[in-house]
Symmetry: C2
Subunit: 526 residues, 2 copies
């Protein structure tokens, strides 16, 4: 029997607040620190590990978190989810993104079909399509191969796929898996589409229109923008465009596209990188085998998240430490700091994933709650961030918990040895140094040069950023956000907060405004 | 007589806390809202305006802020700064970035030279150099023109110049001002340099090495990386590289460069976009005239910041509203939301500018302070953000103040009319709609669809993003951050918080570690 209860009604949460705080400076100094680094680590899929030695936890805090995990029935709720319960209470829908990469539990049926079979069928259709494009069986009107793929989508149809493409682009080039360059058009700002169109050879480009509903204003506008450009170039738009959409959308059975691939209402945009939304562009860019490896990595991580022992479940542990930092220690934001240039847009994807999922003020039954939920998420790759906002992280007045990500090896494996170390060694030395600097600080009589320390971080370490580790990383964070939503008792799978702005924008465009909105419209010359 | 006092010792700050709070929902609804949009606006340079109608202020709050500005002697301190006082108390240096774009006060001398003349001389040298590159007088060994410029730098030598380049790239292409493509190498991750080098024709590329001290680890490593690649391509590195550095740096008089241009210790990295750090790359990419216009825009905005009347000084007003939000209303972060694809990396630049300047816990005399200082800064362009993290901004449990930026016209002026409006109109309609949605909210019996409103924002509106408005925008935020630093009584011009990590990273690379650092080094295979 699953109980959906607010966090502040749980006995274990009250107990958690009473556990003695950890003195991180002391804990991470000397031999104690060395022991923690060895001990506070949990294996992830694909040879990675989540190390939480530099978080403000000890065995007592962890025991209290384990009790909270039990009382909040986190793994049981996850089981409900992957077995097809209506977890998205706001929209009254199942939540099935894990099913795009594996079957963890029972068969899930909806709309009269086995959903795992449905997702696999679409993956197969996409794979066959991609191979035909690569071989030239599907080509432009002149019979020439397509060389570029352009995704037209926004939000979840953009950030996730774009971050994944950038994460694998250099790996693919190095490993002879690179098939086509990918570009992305998302913003309704006409300069976005114009700049992308100016940068490509449209005659050899294939466009993917991605909109689940088939009604997203920005995406349909950019579709028209692109169709216009194709026509002006003397090309037939319908020979250059495919769609990824739901079967019930107006785009589903249209002559405007070479082909349409299907998604459904059970996968939210921000969880759709492993569905056709990511599948089409990634399969075209890198080939279906690379996309399949990416799914395998995610599936392996999903499986780890079923583990009931908190200390063996990296996503659940990460989630609960985050709740502890947010609701007990009171930290309002979290920084995502990947030491890997390939992950340059991964923080932007996690910003959506996390903030759109858990930035909620009502519980899953629509009742107001009395505790804080999702934090602000931001980040940039290290070492760049070190020369930028890390000043505040080290010496600012607020404490910002951090999530580092690092890999032992680079993707391109082209490196130089300077002053006795490679760039990759310098990169790794920096992330190690930062963790210890943040945790331990360093006393200085000159208070301007004093580091108080006590600034908590975790690190995920892997051998290399590749399709499998990327899939595992993605799933880790998706599952972390899901578990946090369970703890906070919110629905992490709707986004009603984006609606009001859409409604008002339509009013502005229809000149049906009054008051302040009329005045802003005048100022902006609409 | 200037008094440097902590914020919590100011009588006007105590009074500010007692002023009645503004009910933003009420204030921004109906006729009152319309009046506020018309009234709460202050002209900026280059035809722009800072509109703060949707901030939680009214005449009483503004009067209290004006008193605070007076008691904190903000314009007097600015005057001290541009007249050459040692404002950077930590490093005992003057702060002269405004002098790169104009002379607001007295002559400033240092190192035996008139600093305005020094900056102008370097600008002229860069302009002449850029013109020789464009005309082919300076060319590669084969006598062929350079077509690409690559900046090698990190932090302030990267984020600002990169953001400015991206902001003007499409404008320049549209207006026949585009001379050379620019690329940027910053991260010590070898994949960063490798990917950039793989994407260019090195034989026709000129590299700018940017490091004030000439000792930045990442930048020197990437210099060697690039020199290696040039040698492997059979090219002579010294014929492909220039330096921007201080006259006392090891790079200053080296045979490794075609030419060296000079900066000095009076301009911090994050304030250096208008110095040679931005000047070399922007003059090469767009020509010296475009860079000169950019400086003119900044100079005009700097002048506005001297205005003593708070309601006529947009940067000071923006700064004080931010202090009110941070220290009285208690909001821990601020979102930067430009509705302009050209400003895609502007938030990343402001993140550094703000968080590195004011993320401090001691005052300018090195004494601990008892109030919060700089907030977390993050942001992405709209409308993209609307489909991402805006959910939390609308319905999350924390309030996040916002700074919107919008332009009436696009840069490329290529647009389509769909359903009765252009993309640019849709873009502008969305920003107007968001401001009102955030401020006013909308009651709904379904609490999941309820918008409480009361979420404050300002907007800067301009005609178009071009060199002059970009210069003004940049200077606005630089001056905002400076004024906030004055209010908080911190030194906004040093960054001691980045030092400890550097020291520890060197220890790791020298294998001189113990405790936790040794264990992390093992995990990362260093």
């Amino acid at each position: 029997m699953i109980n959906w209860k607010n966090l502040d009604t749980l006995k274990s949460f009250e107990e958690l607040g009473k556990v003695a705080r950890v003195d991180l400076v002391k804990a991470m100094s000397g031999e104690s620190g060395a022991e923690r680094v060895k001990k506070y680590s949990v294996p992830m899929a694909e040879g990675m590990a989540y190390n939480y030695a530099a978080k403000e936890v000890d065995d007592d805090v962890l025991a209290a978190l384990a009790k909270l995990a039990d009382e909040a029935q986190l793994t049981e709720k996850y089981e409900e989810l992957y077995n097809g319960a209506v977890i998205n209470t706001g929209e009254k829908r199942m939540v099935l993104h894990q099913l795009t990469r594996g079957q963890l539990g029972n068969k899930v049926e909806a709309d009269g079909v086995d959903k795992r079979e449905f997702y696999e069928k679409e993956q197969k259709r996409i794979a066959e399509f991609a191979e035909k494009v690569h071989s030239g069986v599907i080509a432009n009107a002149a019979g020439e191969k397509f060389t570029t793929v352009v995704q037209i989508g926004i939000g979840g149809s953009d950030l996730g796929p774009r971050a994944m493409y950038l994460a694998l682009e250099n790996w693919a080039k190095k490993n002879n898996k690179f098939k086509m360059e990918a570009k992305f058009i998302s913003n309704v700002d006409p300069d976005d589409a114009s700049a992308v169109l100016n940068s490509i050879d449209v005659a050899h480009s294939i466009f993917i229109l991605v909109s689940k509903s088939g009604t997203t204003l920005e995406t349909l506008t950019n579709q028209s923008f692109v169709m216009d450009a194709l026509k002006k170039a003397g090309l037939e738009p319908a020979k250059h465009m495919i769609a990824v959409t739901s079967e019930t959308s107006p785009l589903a059975h249209s002559d405007d596209f070479i082909e349409a691939f299907y998604m459904d209402d059970y996968i939210g945009g921000r969880y759709s990188s492993t569905s056709g939304v990511g599948g089409a562009v990634l399969s075209l860019a890198f080939g279906p085998d690379v996309f399949a490896e990416f799914l395998d990595g995610a599936a392996a991580e999903d499986k780890l998240a079923t583990e009931k022992d908190l200390l063996k479940n990296p996503a659940m542990l990460d989630a609960l430490i985050g709740v502890y930092e947010r609701n007990v220690l009171g930290y309002p934001s979290t920084a995502i700091l990947p030491y890997s240039q390939g992950l340059s847009r991964f923080p932007a994807h996690l910003q959506q994933l996390d903030m759109e999922s858990n930035g909620k003020s009502v519980n899953r039954f629509g009742e107001p709650i009395d505790y804080v939920t999702g934090p602000v998420i931001f980040g940039e790759p290290g070492t760049n961030g070190q020369h930028s906002f890390y000043q505040l992280l080290h010496q600012g007045t607020d404490i910002v918990p951090m999530q580092f990500i690092g890999f032992k090896n680079s993707q391109i494996a082209n490196d130089v040895d300077i002053q006795g170390s490679t760039s990759q060694q310098k990169l790794c030395a920096n992330v190690a140094a930062q963790i210890v600097a943040f945790a331990c600080g360093k006393a200085d009589d000159n208070k301007n040069k004093n580091f108080e320390g006590g600034r908590p971080s975790s690190i995920i370490i892997g051998d290399q950023l590749n399709p499998k580790t990327l899939g595992a990383l993605l799933a880790h964070f998706e599952n972390k956000v899901m578990f946090q939503g369970f703890v906070w008792n919110v629905n992490s799978f709707d986004q009603e907060g984006v609606q009001l702005g859409k409604v008002l924008a339509k009013k502005v465009l229809a000149y049906e405004t009054d008051g302040a909105l009329t005045e802003y419209s005048k100022l902006l010359n609409i």
